[in-house]
Each structure stands twice: as structure tokens, then as C-alpha cells.
Amino acid sequence: MSVDAIPHRIGTAPAEPAIHPLWVRITHWINALAVMVMIGSGWEIYNASPLFAFAFPPAITLGRWLAGALLLHFAAMWILVLNGLVYLILGIVTGRFRSKLFPIRAAAVLADTRAALTGRLSYDDLSVYNAVQRLFYSGVLVVGIVVVLSGVAIWKPVQFQELTALLGGYDTARYVHFFAMAAIVAFLVIHVIMALVVPKTMRAMIIGR
């Protein structure tokens, strides 16, 4: 009997779809790494000519000085963009974006926000995103595209001057790049807090279930 039971269990395991397929998990963690390097080195680059009356403490920036930070930023940029393209293409062609992130309804977002803040939001089924998750995940995708485009606009304001002009010119594009970074950092703070509050979401993003 027990001999039968073991192959039976193994045999049925793949039939349960993973909460996150392997490509999502791989691209998620590569992206996490690239984003951390981009933000840390970006803060050091910011410090060379701050837009506001503050600088980032050197203890939390990467690259040691401007040249080191630029080397890191323009190396990690390739990982960010290539991995991001793989993620976007697979998200679209597999239908994952459509099925997981949509629809997003304002009433549901408000109701789920209220439920989350009062501790009444259910996290039982991780395979279905609640309305707040849908809004945040699709929102950070849009901000991710903005941060890359504004980055290209300030990297190549002559070669890609049409894009730079679209973003309000070189100086304005620097602010766009900064605020897009700030939005991503705000997302990350909430994202990491929620992963710690509901640790099984972290497990799902590592082993799939």
C-alpha cells in the first residue's frame, strides 16, 4: 500500500500548477538584484550633483565614488533591461499579466485596502492577487518602464533627443528619473513588509508553492 502511495504522490505533484512558474521566480530575483544595484549606485550618482537639499548617506550608496557608481549603474543596466524584456515578453505571451493583474476595479482596491489595514484581508489563496496587489504590481511595471526611459533620456540627450524632449528636456528628465526611483523605493518598502507579514509569499516566490 505504502509503495503505491509514494509514486502516486509524486505523480500528482506536477498536476498542481505552481503559484509562480519558474520563469517568474528567476526573473523576479534577477530583477531584485539588478534593482538594488541600480538604486544604490544611482544614489551615489545623485550625490555628485543633488537635485534637492539632501544627499544619500555614503554608507547606503554603492560604488564608493562617482566613477565607481557609474560603472556599476551602466553594468547593472544591461541586466535590468535584458531581464525586464524577458519578463515583459513572457508576461504578455503566456497571458500571465492579463489573468493575474486584470481587471483592476477602484471599488475593489478601496475595499481590499480597508480590509488589509484592519487585518481582515485573506492571504489564503496566493494564486489570486487581491485588488491592491494588482494595482501595485501593474503600477510598478509602468514606473519601471518610466525609470528606464527617463534613464535613457538623460544618458543620451543628444542621440535620443526626441525622447528627452518628450520628458520635458534634460533637466526635467533628471527629476522624472529621480521620482520614478522614489516610487520604486516606496513600492519596495511595502512589498518587503508584506512579504515579511505573509512569509509564505516569499516561499512561493522561491520554490514556486
Binding site: 538594488m36 555628485a48 554603492l62 566613477a67 565607481g68 543628444v158 534634460y170
Partner: protein, 256 residues
């Protein structure tokens, strides 16, 4: 962390103002330090990262980025021009030393030396240079630090000068040596760009000492540090000669 920055010194100020005053070997170790090693450990997926090999890997990626930028560079794409009213006043002074330490070049003694792969290696006096046809541009100077300023520069297109000295424009680089300890080098495609200029005037006046008297090179398709001031010598060469900042880790192509 204290290898480069003495206690109590704001590293940001060091970067902005006095990086050139630090001893060479210390400056080259730009990635030493806990935070950066952490980042490189993440980047490479290794727990123990030899900072020298990590630096080498990043420098290799920077060389790859030079090639990508050379490929993105459109020799016919002009940097945007601005109206006179957009000129930044006062235009910022920027160097690795304070303004008072800018080199003083005597007009009478000045001779622009021309070398390398050119037919005519005779040097040029300032009066000979001033007699060349001149153009004016109002373009944006973009610093590697991120700030930018709009200036008005007048001078001769470098490609016109290269034509007159019989430069071999199949060569890879044009290299510039300055009256201070500065030097830089650029790719031939950028040297031949219509807006790349050997500059004698700023905002209509003879180039003042702080902006590079008697001659600077204005390249609106490159970052500010690729625009050398107080240029004393120019050479056309196939040999990669880097430059003052490039040798310390700044990306060589640095196109915008």
C-alpha cells in the same frame, strides 16, 4: 572606508572638488569598501569577491559600453541649439582644482603642437588659429555629475582643422594634452562631427582663463570632461591613450 577619506571629511566634497589631490593609487581603488563589495558579491553571485578582479570586470563592461555608444552615435545628429537668452550666467567653472589654480598660458608663447598621423606637423600660433573660419554654437554642456549649463562657444570646426593639417581621418583617435596635467582622447567619428569645435571665444569674448584660454575643444555630443581646456597639443593616433579621468574609471566614450 577610511582608506580614501580621512575621518570627518565629506566624501562628496572630495569627489566634487579635490579628487585630483588624492594620491593616484588611492584613487584607483574606487571600489574598495564594504558597501561596494556587498554589491559586487550580489552582482557576481560570489560570496568572496576579489575587488581587483571585480573592478576589471566592470572596466570590461565599460569598454563594451564604449562600443555600444560608438554604434549609437549618429555622425549627422546635431546637439540641440538654444537661443541667446538661454545661456547660463554665470557659466560654472569646473575643474579638479579651484579657479585660482587654472593654468596661465601666455598668448605670445602659445604654439599649438600638432602630431601623430598628420601630413603637416608645424605648430600653430594663436594669430594663425584666429585667422581660421569660425562658427558659433549655443549648446548644452552636460557634466558627468549630472548638472548642465548652456554656453555660447565660437571657434573652428575640428574637422576643418584636421583637413588643413592633412590628418589621416582613418585613424581611430584624436588625443589632446592640456597646459595643466589634463588630457583626454576621442573617437575619430566624434572628432569629425560638424559641431565638434576648437574654441577661441566664450559668449563673444576671447576665451577667459577660467574657461580654457587660449583654446579649448567643445564637443556637445560628449560629457563635459571630454571637452578639454588649455589645449597645448593635439595628436591623431591609432593608439588608445585614455585620459585624466578615463584612467581613473570614467567611461571613455562618454557620449550624450
Amino acid at each position: 572606508m577610511n582608506r580614501r577619506h580621512p575621518a570627518g571629511v565629506d566624501p562628496k566634497l572630495l569627489i566634487k572638488d579635490a579628487v585630483g589631490l588624492l594620491p593616484d593609487p588611492a584613487r584607483r581603488l574606487f571600489l574598495r569598501g564594504g558597501a561596494s563589495l556587498g554589491a559586487l558579491a550580489l552582482l557576481s553571485g560570489c560570496d568572496i569577491v576579489d575587488s581587483t578582479s571585480a573592478e576589471r570586470a566592470l572596466i570590461r563592461i565599460s569598454y563594451f559600453n564604449d562600443r555600444v555608444q560608438g554604434w549609437l552615435f549618429n555622425p549627422n545628429k546635431l546637439a540641440p541649439s538654444y537661443p541667446e537668452s538661454a545661456v547660463t550666467r554665470p557659466f560654472p567653472f569646473n575643474a579638479y582644482y579651484p579657479e585660482d589654480d587654472a593654468p596661465e598660458v601666455e598668448k605670445e608663447d602659445y604654439k599649438l603642437e600638432v602630431g601623430g598621423m598628420v601630413e603637416n606637423k608645424k605648430s600653430w600660433s594663436l594669430d594663425e588659429l584666429y585667422a581660421l573660419p569660425q562658427e558659433t554654437q549655443i549648446t548644452r554642456h552636460i557634466c558627468v555629475e549630472g548638472w548642465s549649463a548652456i554656453g555660447k562657444w565660437t571657434g573652428t570646426p575640428l574637422r576643418e582643422f584636421l583637413r588643413r593639417v592633412g590628418a589621416d581621418t582613418r585613424a581611430k583617435y584624436v588625443w589632446f594634452r592640456c597646459a595643466d596635467t589634463y588630457s583626454t582622447s576621442i573617437d575619430m567619428a566624434s572628432a569629425l562631427h560638424p559641431q565638434t569645435q576648437i574654441t577661441f571665444r566664450f559668449a563673444g569674448d576671447i576665451l577667459p582663463r577660467k574657461y580654457g584660454f587660449p583654446m579649448k575643444v567643445r564637443i556637445p555630443t560628449k560629457l563635459g570632461f571630454k571637452n578639454p581646456k588649455h589645449v597645448m597639443e593635439l595628436a591623431v593616433t591609432d593608439k588608445y591613450l585614455g585620459g585624466y579621468w578615463e584612467d581613473q574609471g570614467y567611461n571613455w566614450f562618454s557620449g550624450v
